[in-house]
């Protein structure tokens, strides 16, 4: 049986007022994302990809179009189904963000509590859901730290003492404890050393596979798209100029801008 659409963007758009004029940061974006699928959103800075991500994660409201998500409900009597995020209350959205969604920030310090230990960071979502056994919280934290290849001896250390790559791994663990079905990632490997990037990408690929995660990954790096995503959108000046299967778009780009991007990738 065909699985239900998990996330659906329908002509989504966001505008800002800049020097008195409305400017569309992104406009007319449409796609359907299924469970276990990874979608890369690729573009250079100013393309609108980060704004799009925030729209999809309901951190911004659409000025045009809509974003829909397959909301799970607690009881079977109330079927879920695709719901317009604009119609969900703030309480519901924040609950979604803490449970069924993950959001990996580009800078780990934006996605972690820097003043509490690694273990506390991983355990927070579980405590918010009512987990009250310290020992169990701790062993969950240990288990997740192992899964993201973090030294569990650092569980009581503050994230500020972790390296950049380790902070990203911690952020990932923190988001995955509640087994979300959808994870948003904003340039998850940008800013890290190249070798660290590579290992992190491998980890992400494994986790996505193992946990059947759906993900929307914003990146300016085509290699990240190639490695992680089955499908991709190419954005320029707020619009989607090309979209499709990753391999097809990268091997046979149709739009001149995509061709430019692909040809610009430095090859040894």
């Amino acid at each position: 049986m065909k699985p239900n659409v998990l996330l659906s963007a329908r002509q989504a758009g966001k505008s800002f007022v800049h020097q008195g004029q409305p400017r569309w940061a992104c406009r007319g974006v449409s796609f359907d994302l299924y469970p276990g699928e990874v979608l890369a959103v690729v573009g250079e800075s100013g393309s609108g990809k980060s704004t799009l991500l925030r729209l999809l994660a309901a951190r911004l409201a659409c000025d045009e179009g809509s974003v829909h998500y397959d909301v799970r409900t607690e009881s079977d009597s109330q079927p879920g189904g695709l719901m317009d995020l604009a119609e969900l209350s703030e309480a519901r959205l924040r609950w979604l963000a803490r449970t069924d969604w993950g959001f990996v920030e580009q800078h780990a310090r934006d996605g972690l509590r820097m003043n509490v230990s690694g273990g506390a960071n991983v355990g927070e979502r579980l405590m918010a859901l009512g987990a009250r056994h310290y020992g169990q919280l701790r062993s969950e934290a240990v288990s997740w730290m192992q899964r993201v290849e973090l030294d569990t001896g650092r569980i009581d250390d503050l994230p500020a003492t972790y390296s950049g790559g380790m902070q990203q791994r911690l952020q990932i663990a923190r988001n995955l404890v509640t087994h979300p079905r959808l994870v948003f990632m904003d340039e998850p490997t940008t800013g890290l050393d190249v070798s660290v990037q590579a290992r992190l990408l491998d980890l992400l690929r494994e986790l996505v596979d193992e946990l059947q995660l759906a993900a929307v990954v914003v990146t300016h790096d085509l290699a990240v798209a190639r490695l992680l995503a089955q499908r991709m959108l190419v954005m320029k000046d707020g619009c989607v100029v090309e979209q499709g299967l990753t391999d097809r778009v990268l091997d046979d780009p149709q739009h001149p801008y995509t061709q430019l991007l692909v040809s610009s990738v430095l090859t040894p």
Binding site: A120, G123, E124, L137
Partner: protein
Amino acid sequence: MMDQHYNFAFLDERTKKRIRRALLKAVAVPGYQVPFGSREMPFAYGWGTGGVQITASIIGLSDVLKVIDQGADDTTNAVNIRRFFARTTGVATTGKTRDATLIQTRHRIPEVALTEAQILVYQVPMPEPMSRLEPSRRETIKMHALSEYGLMHVRLYEDIAQLGAISRAYDYPVMVNERYLMSPSPIPKFDNPKMHMNPALQLFGAGREKRLYAIPPYTAVRSLDFEDHPFEVQRWDHACALCGASESYLDEMIVDDAGSRLFVCSDSDYCEERRDAGHVGTQQAVTLHDALAVPADAITPAEQEAA
């Protein structure tokens, strides 16, 4: 004799009405901080104006008022507040918990169990339980509205991870009616269990921060903890030197240059009542061992009572 220059209990009737309306809201939503138009009182902010405004709004001629600070009736601030009400209402005052209908308190809950006929008014300096973690009221209002108490949870986890125990000894956060996180005011955690299912109405006033809240009678109040690190109250290795009580909160007083300590009930009325009933303590100061020594050497309260 009531001072005729001021309205009964100092505040004008309209103000009292507004405060009572806010109190009704508070009682309807246990543990929720209700903003109210706090007035300047003849006491400095931070010295009990919230509690005084609540008491002033509900006190009536037939009430019997008790005011305590640190558990005692004769501490200077309690004396000051009691005089204020005596002067502005002419209402009877008492030091006996059992005889009081209205008790205003700072930092303690009386040892004697309260009844349905009594109201306990707490003086609260900082009503927001998460204020040390998040000073912005705008942010904490949202957290309460959305039941997002992650900030507090991680702090408790962190205490255990770093210190081995939760590091709050007073003003220990509680969940009221399993919905709102609440500050019980700076009472020692020893007193927290008394709030749970108490037959009396408990009202909390923060004058400077301009908020009040309430715990209606027989409401569930749970001190935050972990299943494997359960909440526990303070215990002493000594009993009260005056009355021998081993179940009450004790004040520790340094009585000589050698550092000898005397432990005495914090609740002066409770201690006096026990003494009147014939209970006697050791009447002696204690030389405290080095704090690192294992306390097994100390006399247990049971042995002390038997002695």
